[in-house]
């Protein structure tokens, strides 16, 4: 698509701006859908029905919520650091939004077709930590500060397992570009990396336990990076009031919210691209093509977003030390084994 645009407009900045618009529109639409989905899923888990009055089964409620948030007074606490306080939500959102640049939504569309795709996503989502720390510090609220410290510790330590899990997939596919990774998994369900990729059968069977483990860990670490229950310690409501976003209201709060949702999809999309074929159809060449590609990646991503919502309304929260324990003493050693084993199998 980038080439197409360049042929029309020439190689100038406009091309890149136009390329940046679809993910933004996607994030906004997706946030509305997920907002609705989260409320409905949680309600049905809890024997409730949730919104029923605004439109058919309350489908208009997300719009009403957004409208309310836009109208709300934008409060900046008197003692807060105004610049950092205002900047923080945008920085958090930018970090997540930047990650979408390297996600291939279909064979023909990838925001930025760079060779270091996954590496770039990992790096870009680290900006989120800076944003959260800024918000916690600038709020001048002890609870926010505690939340920010927790989130920094959490995201930094969960980047290790997620990077290692990505490494497992990259070793098999041989590329960091998610579009190439997706292309690599061509040929239906059983050529996905989680099932060993398009390798000879024997190798495939040997590799499945390790790829499956890596996939599961990537997903878990992703939930932790997106600050969702059971890893929602930075904003643990019952402990830290709302953590880093305690003092935020109105649109700034909404941007944090959208960033969280966008992050949920981002981590799901990375896991899907690396392990579940990205925009590839599960039925081989049937139902595949550029448009179907968008459909498949969104469906796969949304399935894991649903999974995250489901987990959130089922599980209690971990404690700080247990969170660190899981990351450093369980996931990281397991992934070292996986990396080693996958390497060994590929060499043999």
């Amino acid at each position: 698509m980038q080439e197409l645009l360049k042929s029309f407009l020439g190689d100038n900045a406009l091309v890149y701006i136009i390329m940046g618009v679809p993910p933004l529109i996607f994030i906004l639409l997706y946030a509305l859908v997920t907002l609705y989905m989260e409320m409905k899923v949680s309600a049905h888990i809890q024997d409730r029905v949730a919104y029923m009055r605004t439109g058919w089964h309350g489908v208009l409620q997300p719009f009403a919520d957004i409208l309310k948030l836009i109208q709300k007074e934008d409060i900046i606490p008197a003692q807060a650091d105004k610049l950092l306080f205002t900047l923080a939500p945008y920085l958090v959102f930018t970090g997540t939004y930047a990650g979408f640049a390297a996600i291939p939504f279909s064979e023909g569309y990838i925001g930025s077709n760079i060779n270091l795709g996954v590496f770039y996503i990992v790096a870009a989502s680290s900006i989120v930590v800076a944003g959260l720390l800024m918000s916690g510090w600038a709020s001048n609220n002890k609870w926010s500060l505690l939340g920010a410290m927790r989130s920094a510790a959490q995201i930094v330590s969960y980047e290790i397992p997620s990077a290692l899990a990505i490494l497992v997939a990259v070793m098999i596919t041989g590329s960091l570009n998610l579009n190439d990774v997706s292309k690599f998994q061509e040929g239906g369900l059983f050529n996905w990396v989680v099932f060993g990729g398009p390798l000879p059968l024997l190798q495939k069977l040997a590799i499945i336990p390790f790829t499956a483990t890596a996939f599961f860990i990537l997903l878990t670490a992703g939930i932790a990076e997106a600050n969702r229950t059971p890893f929602d310690l930075p904003e643990a409501e019952s402990e830290l009031v709302q953590g880093f976003n305690t003092e935020y209201s109105g649109m700034k709060f909404a941007i944090f919210y959208v960033a969280e949702y966008a992050n949920m999809f981002l981590v799901s999309a990375v896991a899907v691209c690396l392990f579940l074929g990205g925009w590839q159809s599960p039925f081989g060449s049937a139902l595949s093509g550029p448009i179907w590609g968008v459909f498949w990646i969104v469906i796969k991503g949304m399935a894991f977003v649903f999974f995250q919502i489901w987990l959130r309304w089922t599980l209690p929260r971990l404690r700080v030390d247990q969170l660190m324990y899981v990351s450093w003493k369980v996931m990281t050693p397991m992934l070292f084994v996986c990396v080693f084993a996958v390497g060994l199998i590929l060499v043999l």
Partner: protein
């Protein structure tokens, strides 16, 4: 008196470079004071915990209460007759109004030396146990929220709603009932109550199992609660803890059995104590499971009481104007939170000369600082949640 007060430690006396807690302790440089509450999601009302933290580690906890003080005792002295106190007693522990009413009515009945009809005793037991289930449901549900699990809370509320429907059917109110009166009840059970109550019992048992599957035996939940906030037996007794908090520490003590009132001694049920299944005896998980198991026992009690419910009058013969002889009486009952006692001094007039309510949550809360030093902020939330306080009762 006021002069003496001024010599006591004043809050937050700050000399340059030094910060004190409100008990006068000086902070070290790496410590900081955080106020958890009065507006905080997990202090279950308007409790303020002044906590000294070193990073995430809690160094000291100083509870500040009184934000919900509504002068219950002063009000009681100012009433023109004894019956008027009952609505105030309702509002003490607003999650267990029936038990409060009963405790108060029982104290006056013992002062007056009157017996109430058997039917009244049975209905009181049924109501008190339904109320106990309702109260424990909130306790375990909100504890789920403290742990970050939201769903069990709404499941608990869904089941509690059934009990409130039963209460509404009986006395028209859903929270503050004013149903148990001195010498009897405000009126008899409505038609169809017994069937509905039985229906509730059969409905509730499987729901409780479902609740356990979701929360109680969840691996993360156990990891969060086992071996946390351990309250040893002797400390629990020394702090005069009562109710589920005391029983969870392994003390086999329940006033319904050991200082019997009502018809509890005619009914077969078991006192539940903490056994330390997941960790140490007296940890947060024990305090939680004791409440869950007490709900099962309450269902047992309700079923038996419904089966044995006799016919008869629901009001004992009372003097037209209640004037107990001059004297005093301390009666303790087992409310969902523990030993709820009323100490009433009568001077022979129509209203109490002095009424002191011994609120279980008030006493149980006083043990929190002792068991939460050295834990993490998340554990402190768990401890406060497991002690199950109702601020209406703490502050009266």
């Amino acid at each position: 008196m006021l002069n003496e007060l001024k010599t006591l430690p004043t809050n937050y006396v700050t000399t340059p470079g030094e910060i004190h807690t409100s008990t006068g302790k000086t902070l070290r440089t790496d410590e900081m004071i955080i106020n958890m509450g009065p507006q905080h999601p997990s202090t279950h009302g308007v409790l303020r915990l002044e906590i000294v933290v070193d990073g995430e580690i809690v160094v000291d906890v100083i509870p500040h209460i009184g934000y919900l003080h509504r002068c219950f005792e002063k009000h009681a002295e100012y009433m023109t007759n004894y019956q008027q106190v009952i609505p105030y007693a309702d509002r003490m522990d607003y999650l267990a109004s029936m038990n409060n009413d009963w405790a108060y009515a029982l104290t006056i009945e013992r002062l007056l030396k009157i017996e109430v009809p058997q039917r009244v005793e049975y209905i009181r037991v049924i109501m008190a146990e339904l109320q106990r289930i309702a109260s424990h449901l909130i306790a375990v549900g909100t504890f789920g929220i403290d742990m970050g699990a939201f769903t069990p809370f709404l499941w608990a509320f869904r089941d509690r709603e059934r009990i409130l429907d039963l209460f509404e059917m009986t006395c028209g109110a859903r929270l503050l009932y004013n149903y148990i009166w001195i010498g009897g009840l405000s009126h008899d059970l409505p038609k169809g109550f017994v069937e509905k109550a039985k229906e509730f019992c059969t409905y509730f048992r499987p729901k409780l199992k479902e609740f356990n599957d979701l929360l109680t035996f969840n691996e993360i939940f156990i990891k969060r609660t086992a071996n946390v906030g351990v309250l040893p037996k002797d400390v629990a007794i020394n702090y005069a803890c009562s109710g589920p908090v005391l029983r969870a520490s392994g003390v086999d003590w329940d006033l319904r059995r050991d200082d019997p009132y009502g018809v509890y001694n005619k009914i077969a049920w078991e006192v539940q104590t903490g056994k330390g299944e997941m960790g140490t005896v007296g940890d947060v998980w024990d305090r939680f499971i004791v409440k869950v198991r007490e709900m099962e026992q309450s269902v047992r009690i309700i079923e038996q009481a419904l089966a044995g419910l006799p016919e008869g009058n629901v009001q004992a013969a009372l003097p037209k104007r209640i004037r107990p002889d001059a004297g005093e009486m301390y009666v303790r009952t087992e409310s969902p939170r523990g030993e709820l006692g009323f100490y009433i001094i009568s001077d022979g007039t129509g209203s109490p000369y002095r009424l002191k309510a011994r609120a279980p949550a008030f006493v149980n809360l006083s043990v929190v600082p002792a068991i939460s030093r050295g834990c993490m902020i998340a554990d402190l939330v768990a401890i406060v949640g497991s002690v199950d306080i109702v601020l209406g009762e703490v502050d009266r």
